[in-house]
């Protein structure tokens, strides 16, 4: 009870975080901690791009320290973060210490040149970094981020579980490249119909989807893009099938 009265409930019940479905396996304690300890609404959904979305513009990727240590991960990581930059204004990476299994003498973390190099590159690219020593701490950091974003009026404030027809429309929006899950949800709830979205100006799209200007422009271009069959790569399906 003390938690409820002191916690984020004070800020209103609107504090909401989207979690990628894969996090159920890889970060179960993060999710349960967010719910039980911090009283946040956690909506698990197929985000695909990031591990967590804590506001309309901020995505968080949770990485294990060992993942940053090995050069083999570099390509995968850079592709993932570049994709994220396409759909979000702000990106945070939470570097979480690897779990030490019971019975294992705590392995000392050997800091490599590669690790320092990756950190330098992340900083240079404007990606924010937080460090966590366990899943519980990661949850606390996610809550802090959600609170800060709430203060800045960027919190996710629409229902996150559309049903029926709304579900179809959400899937339609989700198929648009570089449109984040949060922006797609906002479009579902703010602008009424798909036709209304298609007819919206760039500023109206930015306001409706709570998008930054460049992303709203990209969405606008996409909706009005004149399709040219000749530019479609790959073989066309056989006619009359």
């Amino acid at each position: 009870l003390a938690r409820v009265s002191r916690g984020p409930a004070e800020q209103g019940p609107s504090l909401c975080v989207l979690a990628d479905s894969r996090e159920i396996c890889s970060g179960p304690e993060v999710i349960s901690c967010l719910r039980a300890e911090h009283g946040l609404r956690v909506q698990v959904c197929p985000l695909g791009t990031s591990d967590y979305v804590v506001s309309n513009r901020l995505a968080v990727d949770r990485l294990l320290q060992s993942e940053l240590q090995s050069p083999g991960n570099r390509n995968k990581l850079s592709q993932r973060l570049q994709r994220l930059q396409g759909s979000f204004e702000r990106i945070f990476v939470i570097v979480e210490a690897d779990r030490v299994r019971p019975g294992e003498t705590s392995r000392f973390f050997q800091r490599t040149q590669h690790y320092d190099g990756v950190l330098s590159a992340l900083i240079q690219a404007g990606i924010r970094i937080l460090f966590s020593s366990c899943q519980e701490e990661t949850a606390a950091l996610l809550k802090d981020l959600a609170l800060v974003e709430h203060r800045k009026d960027a919190a996710i404030q629409v229902p996150t579980e559309p049903e029926g027809h709304r579900r179809d429309i959400l899937n339609f929006y989700l198929s648009i490249p570089n449109l984040s899950y949060g922006a797609a949800l906002n479009l579902c709830h703010s602008l009424g119909s798909v036709a209304a979205v298609a007819n919206s100006s760039v500023p109206a799209l930015a306001a409706g989807a709570r998008l930054g200007r460049p992303q709203a422009e990209e969405l606008h271009r996409f909706l009005r893009h004149d399709f040219d069959l000749q530019l479609l790569p790959g073989p066309l399906p056989a006619k009359g099938k």
Binding site: Q82, Q85, A125, I176, F227, L229, K241
Partner: protein, 209 residues
Amino acid sequence: PGTGGSVVVPYGHVIGNEKWRGSEVAQRLQGKVRLIFEDGLGLVDFHLSNRTCILLISEADLVAGDEFKRRLVRFRNASSLRGIVIVEKTQISDQYYLGVQKLVVLELGMVLLPVANQREASQLIIQLVSFGVREQSRDHGANPFVRKQRAQLMEPAVLQTVQHIPGVGKTKALLLLQHFGSIHRLCNTSIEELEEVVGQTVAQQIHTF
């Protein structure tokens, strides 16, 4: 010069605050980077470039109290430089780390990097410097985490999206786009016009969608 205004840092050099002369960090940096000591850097410990500087918080600073916090806030308020805070996170200072991180990253919007000791701090500074040098000498594409702006064909994506309209598969999506061109135009088409392309039921479905 209380706060550390702009300092001109020669290419590939590091300018260190006089107070670090003879320290372990400085000794380990020497030979790896060209280190110059200067007086009057104020709050800043090391300048890595004209834009980037380092504030080093030692284990002792953390344990001693809140003085280092005042220093960080003073720096943030007074300087337009990009400040990277390196903090010594040891078994003793570990308990303070979360609080420091909250202040530096979430409230001040600066970069915070933990190291275990001065040796790690020097290694990290060397990487930061050499990364900056590489970044300037090569083109900007050198950073794997900076998003490259390349023009991508929208056709496949538009086709994908149209297939998310109920009743529309790949064949109908292609037909619709060939006739109406864009999603925008498709949304502004009457049922009658749609019927000419896809038949009554699907035209109805598209229109209600």
